[in-house]
């Protein structure tokens, strides 16, 4: 196994464990807390603003002062962010649809993954539905659904 692959897998485990722990400690895994944050006209709970603040306070300086100055990652792999800078209908409609789902139940992908160990049917239902939603979106983006809607690629023949 190459050194870069070892680093990729080891860092995958470590950062996944850190990410899941952060989700649980911060309260993001509690749908009531998420809804309480989004309920700005009701009994507003601003806690999740502290989650975002804490995450950006750590990530932003490391990115701009360390990562951005490097040509490759420590593993030797290229950085994988997209070069696409266009704000288009696909991005905005996707964000609207995601936001609707997030507000509807108070779950997003991170908290769902960190909560699977809780062993409830609720998380299982959310996760399976989410996977089905992702597969639909992949087919849709490839132009395999005949819907005249955002993000539809007309040039696909199969």
């Amino acid at each position: 196994m190459s050194k870069s692959k070892k680093i990729r897998i080891l860092m995958g485990w470590i950062s996944g464990a850190l990410f899941g722990s952060g989700m649980i400690i911060s309260g993001m895994v509690d749908p009531n807390k998420v809804i309480g944050f989004l309920n700005i006209s009701g009994d507003w709970d601003p806690s999740l603003m502290f989650v975002m603040g804490g995450a950006l306070a750590v990530f932003t300086p490391i990115y701009h002062l360390v990562i951005k100055k490097r040509k490759t990652a420590i593993s030797g792999d290229a950085f994988t962010w997209t070069s696409n800078t266009k704000v288009d209908g696909t991005l905005i409609w996707g964000a609207i649809i995601f936001g609707a789902g997030w507000g509807l139940a108070g779950f997003c992908p991170g908290p769902a993954m960190a909560s699977i160990g809780g062993g409830t049917n609720i998380i299982l239902a959310f996760t399976l539905s989410m996977l089905v939603g992702i597969v639909h979106a992949n087919q849709y983006l490839a132009g395999r659904f005949p819907l005249p809607f955002v993000g539809y690629r007309k040039n696909c023949q199969d």
């Binding site: 995958g12 899941g20 995450a55 950006l56 789902g101 779950f107 809780g118």
Partner: protein
């Protein structure tokens, strides 16, 4: 404001930022959870093993925080039909919009990406409207 938890939320958020920074610094990868999951469903060479490892770490993280006194909340009272519909919307929307709260909200915003700033403002607004509509029909 009964449930206001600024310190644990700040500490948990800092861990999310640290995780995203380490993954990018060491492996060059983006810790966007919808992207990590989505990538496993349409796998590319050298792109599956780290994603599987990352999700394994996430799934087992409740064992790491348990000795510190943190537990998963009891969510057995949620409506499974509503949750399932929400899952479909979240899955479809995050693929279409190419990210969720982690990818756009933390990493994209931290990189000052214009796409991520627009996406984050849009899904926040959409979610706030949805919660308001929930309130109108009496679901709180």
């Amino acid at each position: 404001m009964d449930n206001f938890t600024p310190w644990t939320s700040l500490a948990g958020g800092a861990l999310l930022g640290l995780s995203a920074a380490l993954l990018m610094l060491f492996s060059g990868k983006i810790a966007g959870i919808s992207g990590v999951i989505g990538g496993l469903l349409s796998p590319k060479k050298h792109e599956s093993s780290w994603r599987a490892a990352f999700l394994t770490g996430m799934i087992l993280s409740f064992l790491i925080v348990a000795p510190l006194g943190f537990t998963l909340p009891d969510i057995s009272g949620e409506n499974i039909l509503v949750v399932s519909l929400a899952g479909l919307l979240v899955g479809f929307g995050t693929r279409l919009g190419n990210g969720c709260t982690s990818g756009h909200g933390i990493i994209g915003m931290g990189r000052f990406s214009k796409r991520s700033i627009y996406a984050t403002l849009t899904f926040m607004a959409s979610a706030i409207v949805m919660v308001y509509l929930r309130g109108l029909v009496g679901v709180t």
